[in-house]
Amino acid sequence: MGLVLLVVIWLITLVSTYFFVAKTWWLPAGASAAAAGIDHHFTVSFYLMGFVFVAAQLALGYLVWKYREGGSSQKASYSHGNTTLEVVWTVLTTILFVGLNLASSSIWAAERFRAAEANAVHVEVTGMQFAWYFRYPGPDGKFGLTKPELEDASAGGEAALGLDTHDPASKDDVVSGVMVVPVNREVEVILRAHDVIHSFFVPQMRFKQDAVPGLAIHMHFTPIQTGEYEIACAELCGLGHYKMHGMLKVVSQEEFDKWLAAREAEKQ
C-alpha cells in the first residue's frame, strides 16, 4: 500500500507539473507594458512554489513508503519534535512568502499607486446588464454629464449612457460599442457601472478592475501591441454575465486619430 501511495502521489505530481512546465494551457501572450513584469513574476512564483509543491508531495510519497509497518523500520521513534527545526523552517517559510510578495510590490505600486500620465488617452468604460459602452471626451477633453433618468438601453450609444444633451460638454462626446485605443500610449480608463458590479478584464493586457456602481474608478494600462482583444466581464452580474463581452482594438496612432476624428465629425 505504501508503494502504491508513493507511485500515485508521485505520478499525479509529475503529470500535473508537466502541464505547468510545458505551458500547454497558459496565459496568452502579453500585450501591455506591464505584462512583462507581471509575467516574470508569475515565472518566479511558479518556480518557487512549484519547487515547494514537488518537494512536499515527493517527500510525502517517499515517507509513507519508507516508514510503512513491515518495511525496514521496526519501531517508531519516540520523538515529540525538534524545536530547532521548527524555528528554522518557520523562518525560511516566512522569508520565502513575504519575500515573494515584496518582490512583486514594485509592480503593484507602479500600476496602482500612481495616477495616469498627463498625455494618456481617456476612455470612460461603463458596464451595464449586459453590455459595455466606451465614451471618449471629444475635443473639449471633458466628459459630459449623465443622468440616470435619461438612460435608455434599447436605444444604444448616448442614450444607453443617459447622456445629458443639455450639458455643453456632452455634445462632442463619442460613444462607441467598441473600445479603440492607440498603441504605445497610456490609456486611462474611468470605470463606471449602472446597475450592479461588473468587471473589465482584458487577459492579454493583464488588466482587470471591477466597475462599481456609485464609483468612478480611474486605472491605467499601456497597450504595446496592435490587435483585437476580447474584453470579458469578470464579476457576476446576472443571467447575461457569460455573454457580456466587448472588444478592445489597439491600432496605430494615425488610425486612432482617423477613427476618432471621423466619430467626432459625426457629432458636429
Binding site: 500500500m1 505504501g2 501511495l5 500535473s16 502541464f19 505547468f20 500547454t24 494551457w25 507581471i38 513574476h41 512564483s45 512554489m49 509543491f53 517527500a59 510525502l60 509513507v64 516508514y67 509497518e69 519501531k75 517508531a76 520523538s79 515529540h80 519534535g81 527545526l85 521548527e86 518557520t90 517559510t93 512568502f97 510578495n101 512583486s104 503593484w108 505600486a109 499607486f113 446588464q129 440616470p148 433618468e149 438612460e151 435608455d152 434599447s154 443617459g162 457601472a193 449602472h194 450592479v196 458590479i197 478584464f201 487577459p203 471591477d210 462599481v212 456602481p213 456609485g214 464609483l215 469578470a234 464579476e235 457576476l236 446576472g238 443571467l239 447575461g240 454575465h241 457569460y242 463581452h245
Partner: protein, 581 residues
C-alpha cells in the same frame, strides 16, 4: 420541598431518556445531536453534489434538455451555483466536522459527560435544520433560488429586479443564512464553555488532543464571525424590503430607477468577507486537527511538535481575521490597503506550512499502518499542499489582477475546502464509526472509495488551474460567447467526466456507511489501539460517556511507542509514563 427539589433535579439530569422522541428527536445527549448534525450534512452534501453535477452537464452541453429538468437556462445555472456554494460551505463544511464530530467527541475527549448546555445544544441542531429547510424552500418559490453566488454581492443581491430568483428566493436565502448564524453561535457557545470549564482532572489545555484544540479555536472563530454575517444579512434584508440604501447607490435596472441612493457595494464586501475569511478557516481547522490525530495514531508516533501545532492553530485563527481584504484586491479598494492585506495573507501561509512540515515529521521514522482513516489522512496532506500552494499566487495583488475570478480561484478553494476538508470528514467517519456504532466499516470498500475519490478529485480540480491560467472565467454558465473561453472547452469536458466518476464513487461510501451499521464486524472498545479518552470507554459509549466514573488524565494525547512501556501506546488515563530515553 427540598427533598422533592433535589430528587427532581437528579432524575431530570441523571437518567437516560426514554421514549423515541426524547431519545432520538429532541435528544439532549451530545452524541445523538452529533449524529443528527452528521446526517444533516450527509443529506446536504448529496444535494450539493447533485447541483454541481447539473452545473457540470450544462457547462459542456448548454442547450441540452435534461429529463425532468428540461433545459437549464443561464439564470438556472447561476442559481444552481449559488445554492451549491451555500449548501456546501454552511450545511456541510461548517456542520459535519464541527457540529457532527465535534459535538460527539469533544466532551468525551476531554473526559466530560456532556456539553455544558445540553438544551441549548439540542436547540442549536434544530435551528440549523430549520435553516436548511428555509434554504431549500428558495428552490420552489416563484422566481426560484437566487443567482447572486454564495457571496451575494450587492447590488445584485440587494435589488429584487436585478435578475430571476432575486425576489422571494433571495429573501429566503438570506433568512436561511441568518438562522444558520444563530444555530452556529449557539453551538460555539457550548463548545467554548465546555472546553474551558468541563475538562476532567488532569486534562490540562496542553494535554488536549489536537482535534479538541481545532474544535475550540474553530468555535472562537465562529463566535466572532457569525455575528458580523448576521449583521450584513440584516442590512441586506432591509435594503431589499424596507427601501434603505446601505449597499445600493443610485442605480438603474432595466432603465428603472430603484429608489436607492448613496449606499456602498464595497461595504457589503467588507462585512461579508470579514466573516467569509474566518469561515474558510472554520471549514479547514477541524480537518487539520483530525489529520494530526490520525497521522499520529497510525504512525504509532507522537505528533511532531505538539506545541507548535497548537500555536499554529491559534495563529491561523488569529490571522484569519486580518486578511479578508485579499478577496477584494480588484474591488475598487485602495491599493495601499490591498498591499497591507497581501502581506498579512502571506503571513498566514506560514502556520499552515508549519503544520505541513510537522505532519511530514510525524510520518518520518514512524511505523505506518494503512487503515482507511490513515489513507484519507495522507490524502488530506497531499490535497492540502496542492490547494495551499495556489494560495500564494492569489495572495499577490499583481498576480491576482489576472487570476481573480478565474478558475484558478475555484481550483484553490475546492482543493482545500471541497476536497481536503471533505477528506477530513471521511477520515473521521472511518475512524470513529466503530466507536459510534459498535461495528467496523468494510475495509476493501473503504479503500476503493479512497482511491477513486483521491484520483478523481485531482482529475476534477487540477485541470482547473490550467483553465484559470488561460483566463477561463468563473460563474460563466456557458463558454459559447467569448472566443478565447470557448477554446478551453475540452478541459471542461475532461472535468465533467471526472466529476461523474468521482460523484458516483461516493455511493460506495454511502452504501458502506449504512450497510456497516447493521452488518459490519463487531468492534472492540479500542480497535485502532489509540490513546485518547474516547477509546477508554465502551463502544458505543454509555449515556454519560464513562459509565458513572470520571476519568483522570495522566498523560498527553500522543504517547505512542514510548520506550520501556508495555504496549506501543499509553492511554491518556493510564498510569503516568516515564519514558526511558
Amino acid at each position: 420541598m427540598a427533598t422533592h427539589e433535589s430528587a427532581a433535579h437528579a432524575s431530570h439530569v441523571h437518567a437516560a431518556p426514554q421514549g423515541f422522541i426524547r431519545k432520538w428527536v429532541f435528544s439532549l445527549d451530545h452524541k445523538v445531536i452529533g449524529l443528527q448534525y452528521y446526517f444533516l450534512a450527509l443529506a446536504a452534501v448529496f444535494v450539493g453534489m447533485f447541483l454541481s453535477l447539473l452545473m457540470r452537464i450544462h457547462l459542456i452541453w448548454p442547450t441540452a434538455t435534461l429529463p425532468f429538468f428540461g433545459e437549464i437556462k443561464p439564470e438556472t445555472y447561476l442559481s444552481l451555483l449559488t445554492m451549491h456554494g451555500t449548501i456546501m460551505v454552511f450545511f456541510v463544511l461548517t456542520t459535519a466536522p464541527q457540529g457532527g464530530f465535534g459535538n460527539y467527541f469533544l466532551p468525551i475527549q476531554i473526559g466530560a459527560p456532556d456539553m455544558a448546555f445540553p438544551v441549548l445544544n439540542m436547540l442549536s441542531f434544530w435551528t440549523t435544520f430549520l435553516g436548511f429547510l428555509v434554504l431549500l424552500a428558495a428552490f420552489v418559490v416563484t422566481g426560484g433560488a437566487p443567482l447572486h453566488g454564495w457571496t451575494g454581492y450587492a447590488p445584485l443581491s440587494a435589488l429584487q429586479s436585478a435578475g430571476p430568483g432575486e425576489g422571494l428566493g433571495a429573501d429566503l436565502w438570506i433568512t436561511s443564512i441568518a438562522i444558520f448564524c444563530i444555530g452556529a453561535l449557539m453551538g460555539a457557545l457550548n463548545f467554548i464553555t465546555t472546553t474551558l470549564d468541563m475538562r476532567a482532572k488532569g486534562m490540562t489545555m496542553m494535554r488536549m488532543p489536537l482535534t479538541v484544540w481545532a474544535w475550540f479555536v474553530t468555535a472562537i472563530l465562529g463566535l466572532l464571525a457569525f455575528g458580523v454575517l448576521l449583521s450584513a444579512g440584516i442590512l441586506l434584508l432591509m435594503d431589499r424590503n424596507l427601501g434603505t440604501s446601505f449597499f445600493v447607490p443610485l442605480v438603474t435596472v432595466n432603465g428603472q430607477l430603484t429608489g436607492h441612493k448613496g449606499g456602498s457595494p464595497l461595504l457589503w464586501q467588507h462585512l461579508f468577507w470579514f466573516f467569509g475569511h474566518p469561515e474558510v478557516y472554520i471549514a479547514i481547522l477541524p480537518a487539520m486537527g483530525m489529520c494530526s490525530q490520525l497521522l499520529s495514531v497510525f504512525s504509532r508516533k507522537p505528533i511532531f511538535g505538539y506545541k507548535a501545532m497548537v500555536y499554529a492553530i491559534m495563529a491561523i485563527g488569529f490571522l484569519g481575521f486580518m486578511v479578508w481584504g485579499h478577496h477584494m484586491f480588484m474591488s475598487g479598494m485602495s491599493p495601499y490597503t490591498a498591499f497591507a492585506f497581501s502581506i498579512m495573507t502571506m503571513g498566514i501561509g506560514v502556520p499552515s506550512a508549519i503544520k505541513t512540515f510537522n505532519w511530514l515529521g510525524t510520518l518520518m521514522r514512524g511505523r505506518i499502518r494503512f487503515t482507511s482513516p490513515m489513507l484519507f489522512a495522507i490524502g488530506f496532506v497531499s490535497l492540502f499542499v496542492t490547494g495551499g500552494i495556489s494560495g500564494p499566487f492569489l495572495a499577490q495583488p499583481v498576480l491576482d489582477i489576472y487570476l481573480h475570478e478565474t478558475y484558478f480561484v475555484i481550483a484553490h478553494f475546492h482543493l482545500i475546502m471541497g476536497v481536503a476538508s471533505i477528506f477530513g470528514i471521511f477520515a473521521a467517519t472511518y475512524y470513529w464509526f466503530p466507536k459510534m456504532f459498535g461495528r467496523m466499516m468494510n475495509e476493501p470498500l473503504a479503500k476503493l472509495h479512497f482511491w477513486l475519490t483521491f484520483v478523481g478529485a485531482y482529475a476534477i480540480f487540477m485541470p482547473m488551474h490550467y483553465y484559470g491560467m488561460s483566463a477561463g472565467l468563473r460563474r460563466y454558465s456557458q463558454s459559447t460567447e467569448v472566443a478565447y473561453i470557448l477554446k478551453l472547452l475540452p478541459i471542461q469536458r475532461f472535468i465533467t467526466i471526472a466529476a461523474f466518476i468521482t460523484i458516483a464513487s461516493q455511493f460506495i461510501f454511502l452504501f458502506n456507511l449504512f450497510w456497516s451499521m447493521f452488518k459490519g464486524a463487531k468492534a472492540s472498545d479500542n480497535p485502532w489501539e489509540a490513546t485518547t479518552l474516547e477509546w477508554t470507554t465502551a463502544t458505543p459509549p454509555p449515556h454519560d460517556n464513562f459509565g458513572g466514573r470520571t476519568p483522570v488524565v495522566k498523560n498527553g494525547p500522543y504517547e505512542y511507542s514510548v520506550p520501556g512501556a508495555p504496549r506501543d501506546f499509553v492511554m491518556q488515563s493510564d498510569p503516568e509514563i516515564k519514558p526511558k530515553h
